[in-house]
């Protein structure tokens, strides 16, 4: 045991002396051995950010270094787990410490008591390198977990055997004596190595019409979702976690509400993933560090999240990482920076905010994994942002936008009109749209791109018209303009709105999205043609299309085709009273 003692406790930070640690080295603080991380070392004094409640820590209590940095324990058993920001499973903490989180209770991320049936993929004598697949276990029903040689490790396998192992057991060895196990550790602040970054044309299909249609994100991309309180960020993150087309979901509740995690925990086990027929919980890892839990662990939580995501990517999985909310992480950084008396940058955030954010978002990628056999995987990051006062000019939003390829900007006035998802189509953007359009054309409908442009142009026109109408009154508009406004209203109200609570509307398959969009565009074109042919506006009736589109929207997947046909008929028929 070292002679280091606590000489100061201020909030989440502790100073200890005499101590010679390394930056980001872990430390055990106080007689209860709270976990912390060295963030500054000056002379013989180390400053440690502590991941647990520091109330009650006293001057003179001992401090030890651990010799390692904060790592994630990566192996089978992560799926379905609920971890805090440092990787402690919350259910085990509750068993050990009761309903309220006490201090100094610890539990390993992966249950050492749980055993997995391991099937080797290599034999003794094989030369292996970091990333090679040693074998597999079935982690959840139908999901095979590849057991990897830890990165930066190589050698010849001298022994390996099938059998039932826990994550602590040795299932084989390398010639230099390195034991092989189901799980390995990786420092959360260091990106896991890959063989190559790849370009992709594949979209991250969200199941939300407004995103898939207007602001698609490419797989391996990153997207920022800024919005004031109550604009729908959490519902979006949760809807994506439920319905997005990804193999694995890592959901980080970073500094948000406890009850929201209760929602997830009650719904995910019961909700069936339409692609696999298995509970959504089986493909999810939840990392939860709510607003009232220690801020230092909140700061760590997003790194734990992205490390877990990269780990599954390295197995060849398409992983989606949801962060709710990046702002709370940035605030934790600010809180710690202020206590370290660092010179603050904009709005009190540390000057390294932007560089940390870039490093983080750059961990999103489509990648060829290291090792054999060849595998491709992806990490897509969707990060919610909570700008103070809903003002997007603030540092976290701005720094994120420089490194994300898309922004879904949520607008408070749309949310107030209960238009959800409250995506402002004027200020939102996606740099991935051109890249992924061919995929949609191939999988949804050939004129996908054309429909998309038509919709965008129509919405833009409508906004101009609305500005005019608010000055002269809608009565004073031209026929065609009023028609455009009416169609645009249907597009906004039926196509772009999507209820997260409707059993069949909550997720929109790309077939449904395409069918609704193309019928709406058809109606718009038919009506404009009719007007151009001199048919009076009063004869155009949009009620039928609106109704057909609503029915299509609320239809279960197996009725989409039939209802799509009706919507097309209704769209062609809007001027039928005159045309025939």
């Amino acid at each position: 045991m070292s002679a280091a003692r606590i000489v100061r406790v201020a909030g989440a930070l502790v100073e200890a002396r005499p101590m010679e640690g390394a930056l980001y080295e872990l430390a055990y603080v106080g007689t209860r051995r709270l976990l912390g991380e060295i963030v500054r070392q000056v002379g013989d004094t180390a400053t440690i950010q502590v991941y647990e409640e520091t109330n009650g820590l006293a001057l003179g209590e001992p401090v030890d270094t651990a010799g390692t940095s904060l790592t994630a324990h990566l192996g089978p058993g992560l799926l379905g787990a609920v971890l805090d920001g440092t990787g402690r499973p919350l259910a085990r903490l509750a068993e050990a410490g009761g309903d309220f989180i006490g201090e100094g209770v610890s539990a390993p991320t992966l249950d050492p008591g749980r055993r997995w049936a391991f099937t080797p993929a290599v034999a003794a004598g094989t030369q292996v390198r970091g990333g090679d697949v040693l074998g597999t276990v079935e982690e959840t029903e139908g999901l095979t977990h590849a057991i990897l040689v830890p990165p930066r490790t190589c050698g010849t396998v001298t022994a390996i055997a099938a059998g039932e192992y826990s994550c602590e057991d040795t299932l084989g060895t390398l010639d230099d004596g390195t034991p092989l196990r189901l799980a390995h550790r990786w420092p959360i602040r260091v990106p896991r190595p890959i063989a190559a970054r790849l370009a992709t044309r594949r979209p991250f299909v969200t199941g939300q019409r407004v995103f898939d249609l207007l602001f698609p994100v490419a797989e391996g991309g990153a997207c920022a979702v800024p919005g004031g309180f109550g604009t729908g960020k959490t519902i979006i993150e949760q809807s994506l976690a439920r319905f997005a087309d990804a193999d694995i979901i890592v959901y980080v509740g970073c500094g948000e509400r406890g009850n929201e995690m209760t929602d997830v925990l009650t719904e995910f086990p019961a909700l069936v993933d339409p692609r696999t027929g298995r509970p959504v919980m089986d493909r999810s890892v939840l990392i939860v560090n709510t607003s009232n839990m220690p801020v230092a662990a909140r700061e760590a939580s997003i790194y734990l999240g992205v490390t877990v995501a990269e780990y599954y990517r390295d197995q060849g999985r398409r992983v989606a990482l949801m962060i709710d909310s990046t702002s709370r992480w940035a605030e934790a950084l600010r809180e710690m920076g202020a206590r370290l008396q660092e010179m603050p940058g904009e709005e009190g955030y540390p000057t390294y905010l932007a560089s940390r954010l870039s490093l983080f978002f750059e961990r999103a990628a489509v990648a060829r994994a290291q090792g054999a056999p060849e595998r491709e995987g992806a990490v897509t990051i969707i990060g919610a942002i909570s700008p103070p006062g809903g003002d997007f000019s603030e540092p976290v939003t701005q720094a994120s936008l420089r490194v994300t390829g898309a922004m879904w900007a949520l607008d408070a006035s749309l949310a107030q009109q209960r238009h959800y998802p409250a995506v402002d189509w004027d200020s939102s953007f996606s740099l991935y749209a051109d890249q992924v359009s061919p995929w949609f054309a191939e999988h949804a409908g050939r004129d996908w791109e054309e429909i998309r442009h038509y919709l965008i142009a129509l919405l833009q026109r409508e906004r101009e018209l609305r500005d005019i109408a608010s000055l002269v009154g809608p009565d004073a508009l031209e026929d065609e303009d009023r028609f455009v406004m009416n169609v645009a209203w249907i597009i906004r109200d039926v196509l772009l709105r999507q209820s997260a609570f409707h059993p069949h509307d909550a997720r929109s398959s790309i077939a449904k999205t395409y069918a609704m969009a193309s019928a709406a565009v058809l109606a718009a074109r038919t009506g404009r043609d009719a007007l151009a042919r001199g048919i009076p506006a009063a004869r155009l009736d949009l009620q039928g299309v609106r109704h057909a589109l609503s029915v299509l929207r609320d239809a279960p997947d197996d009725e989409v085709e039939v209802q799509a046909g009706r919507a097309v008929a209704a769209a062609t028929g809007i001027a039928s009273g005159v045309a025939r």
Partner: protein, 468 residues
């Protein structure tokens, strides 16, 4: 805390609510401190920065008259705690927990640290039990559920506290059981406090109420303590004694100002508008104490009152509150001016837990779509109203004109219910009557089924005309 009591003679410095000690040993963060000075009552304090060179103590009592060189500082070796128990019901305490009702200090069942501990998220139970408040704007469109934290965003001079009092008087839990009430007055005037307390008394709820009163004239440092005392008492009543507890804190704006005062005294780098950068975390440590715990019968429902400075909802206090709470009930100066009581603006108001609290078996099956329709028609009417202000009502489309009439009626008859309490079914009927005036094409949010059922019900029992 592993240390025991130590006494230091003389402090190094005092500044505002802070007292500085030099070279104190074995000090623990959060440790309770007693500051003794001859001829003055003892003051309580708490260690907020423990350091070998310098230890900072935040005083929990008024510092006026404090002479650092003449004090005796007793470090107690234990955290700041308070007595909790059922025998607190019916009692009134100051903002630092001393009885102010002339009775002796309660014996209590146990003592608890006021800081509380974070509830493990996996141990939370999902709040889903409808609370009938009797206020249509809330019950219909911003439904409160047991275990929710739902603030009232008020403005200077708006009746935020009055609304809270109505909720306290009117609230009925699902099986009709009465709520225990814990009220923390934080920096509000003696008159406001009196009015509120009188209403609780008049409603017969006093015997199941605990009061913590820090009024405007009381020390501002106590404002940081009063809500924590209230929540600690509430946690016992809810999670140990199994009661349904309603906590009202008025006014969080004063709380945040006291927090800012403390931050300035500590010479911290200020965040937005001078409020500390950690205010979000600090507020969360209060608001997140609302909720329900799996396997325990009680609940804490929290209604903080927030006065929006200058009616500005983007001000850091309502803003950070809204980011933590599960919705908000927003009062409108305009409605208030027009005499609409309660002046709730339903458009910016929101209850995020509404969905789990309504519907079949809770309120009634079509509650959601009925509420969406009221909302949509009203929103359209409000838009039409602002357009009419520019282009005149004549420039509006017929549907907009109908929506405008709807909005007027909605504000007058539905929102502006006056002081009467409405059951949820009375609220439903009041809403339907307004919708009845609209043609089917204006009711896009209603399903055919819900619409037809309403028509059938009307045909079966034609409603009496509402009194003019």
């Amino acid at each position: 805390m592993t240390t025991f009591q130590r006494t230091y003679r003389g402090a190094h410095a005092a500044a505002g609510p802070l007292l500085f000690l030099q070279h104190a040993r074995r000090v623990a963060l959060g440790e309770r401190v007693v500051v003794r000075q001859e001829g003055q009552p003892d003051r309580r304090g708490q260690v907020i920065d423990a350091g070998e060179e310098r230890t900072v103590i935040q005083l929990l009592d008024d510092p006026v008259g404090l002479a650092p060189h003449r004090v005796e500082v007793i470090l107690t070796g234990e955290p700041v705690r308070t007595v909790v128990g059922r025998d607190l019901l019916g009692r009134a305490f100051s903002g630092h927990g001393a009885p102010v009702d002339g009775l002796p200090a309660p014996i209590g069942s146990t003592v608890r640290p006021v800081a509380g501990a974070p509830l493990n998220p996996v141990r939370r139970a999902k709040p889903s039990d409808f609370i009938e408040t009797g206020v249509s704007a809330i019950d219909a469109m911003n439904t409160l559920v047991r275990g929710q934290k739902l603030p009232v965003f008020s403005g200077p001079g708006l009746p935020g506290l009055d609304l809270a009092a109505r909720i306290v008087e009117g609230a009925r839990a699902p099986h009709g059981e009465a709520f225990a009430v814990v009220f923390a007055a934080v920096g509000i005037t003696a008159r406001e406090t009196q009015v509120f307390v009188d209403r609780i008394r008049a409603s017969g709820a006093m015997a199941r109420t605990v009061l913590y009163l820090n009024e405007a004239s009381h020390p501002s440092v106590e404002r940081l303590l009063a809500p924590r005392l209230a929540l600690t008492a509430a946690e016992y009543l809810a999670f140990d004694a199994g009661m349904q507890v309603l906590v009202v804190v008025a006014d969080m704006t004063h709380y945040c100002e006291a927090l800012r005062e403390l931050g300035t005294a500590r010479e911290e780098v200020p965040g937005r508008r001078g409020y500390p950068g950690y205010m979000y975390t600090d507020l969360a440590s209060l608001y997140e104490r609302a909720g329900i715990v799996k396997g325990r019968p009680g609940s804490i429902t929290l209604i903080p009152i927030v006065t929006m400075p200058d009616d500005d909802i983007t001000h850091p206090i309502p803003d950070l509150t809204g980011y933590i709470t599960e919705g908000q009930v927003v009062l409108s100066r305009e409605l208030h001016r027009r005499g609409i009581d309660p002046p709730i603006d339903v458009l910016p108001s929101l209850s995020r837990l509404m969905n789990s609290g309504i519907g079949e078996k809770r309120t009634w099956r079509d509650h959601r779509e009925w509420s969406d329709q009221l909302y949509a028609s009203y929103a359209r009417g409000r838009e039409a109203r602002s357009m009419a202000a520019i282009v005149g009502a004549g420039g509006l489309l017929p549907a907009d004109r109908r929506a405008l009439d709807f909005a007027d009626a909605f504000e007058a008859a539905f929102i502006g219910q006056g002081t009467a309490r409405r059951t949820i079914m009375e609220t439903a009927e009041a809403g339907w009557r307004l919708l009845d005036a609209l043609p089917r094409e204006d009711l896009a949010r209603l399903s055919d089924r819900a619409f037809q059922e309403r028509q059938a019900a009307r045909a079966a029992a034609p409603p009496e005309e509402p009194a003019p």
